[in-house]
Symmetry: C2
Subunit: 192 residues, 2 copies
């Protein structure tokens, strides 16, 4: 199952890992299976692992004082999931991360990742590029959230993440977009 | 005016620059004055400079098809402003950046910044920390935008940026929070 990660690194950086590098990566990443609804991380914990999703679908969300879930991130295979602030700063996370489908993950601690940076140039290059891409994506999402109508946000989502529609139900997507189920349902009727 | 930047670097990293490093930094950053309402960057341009604000107040915003401004960022002295995606990827920016007050800036191109990384360790350390902090702040703001009530967002803003209240008018702050002027006005009456 580390194959999926090697392929990802190659697609991301254009760099083929050597035999030695593959062994280093294989021993740094731990394999973990989660059944649907099991947690990778719960609010108040420190995010010890970042996860590469080999197979499955995961959600990252907060729960407000009324018990309502707010989806910060949805992710499927070939995505990463984790709370970067908690992972880097060792602060308690405000998020839960759980499996929306049975999932297979490759987990890495911060210490093991820092070691890999020194030993496997492709990993540090990939991480730098991912950090940049993530900061762009988060800023674009913030821009959309504060300045686009619900309709335009949904259209954007369809264009950017067409594959998510088959994997997550409407109420999860509505929460990700910060709109109500009713609004999303109205928009979908208009666009059909 | 480079003094303000040296002090900022020291406060941020705990590192004192040597004489040589100060000269390198001084020659890499260009001083620029903007009068109120002048632009640092306009939509469609490539963001060639990142700006350290020595004095003044700046806004970063997009304008929608109805001509409404949406504030992505407000910034005062000792803040940085620029569109990171356009600066790194050389893509046309969707944002405008202008001076809300007469402002004094120190500008640096990406090429000059990359040179400084090799020559002045404090600069690369500062930049890495800033990138992390920015990604945490953007994610926290996204979380607040999708999951907090307008009241809680305003309260959060008061706690995080008390100094902004004296520098930017209410309608700018409402736009930054993604709420209407009327909602902000109602919230302020309740909290007084």
């Amino acid at each position: 199952m580390h194959e999926a990660l090697f392929n990802y690194i190659f697609r991301y950086t254009g760099l083929q890992l050597s035999e030695t590098e593959m062994e280093l990566v294989t021993s740094a990443f731990t394999f973990k299976k989660l059944r649907k609804k099991q947690y990778l991380l719960q609010e108040g914990e420190i995010c010890k692992y970042f996860a590469f999703i080999v197979q499955g679908a995961m959600r990252q969300y907060s729960v407000d004082e009324k018990g309502v879930e707010h989806i910060l991130q949805l992710a499927i295979e070939n995505w990463w999931i984790g709370d970067r602030e908690s992972y880097l700063m060792l602060t308690p996370t405000p998020y839960n991360i759980d499996a929306w489908e049975d999932s297979e993950l490759l987990l890495i601690t911060r210490a093991d990742l820092l070691n890999l940076f020194d030993q496997v140039p492709a990993i540090s290059q990939m991480t730098r590029q991912m950090d940049d891409k993530n900061s762009f994506a988060t800023q674009r999402r913030l821009k959309a959230t504060i300045s686009y109508s619900a309709e335009k946000r949904y259209q954007d989502f369809l264009t950017t993440h067409p594959d998510f529609l088959q994997r997550f139900p409407q109420h999860q997507i509505a929460s990700y977009l910060g709109i109500t189920k009713e609004t999303l349902s109205r928009i979908r009727k208009q666009t059909i």
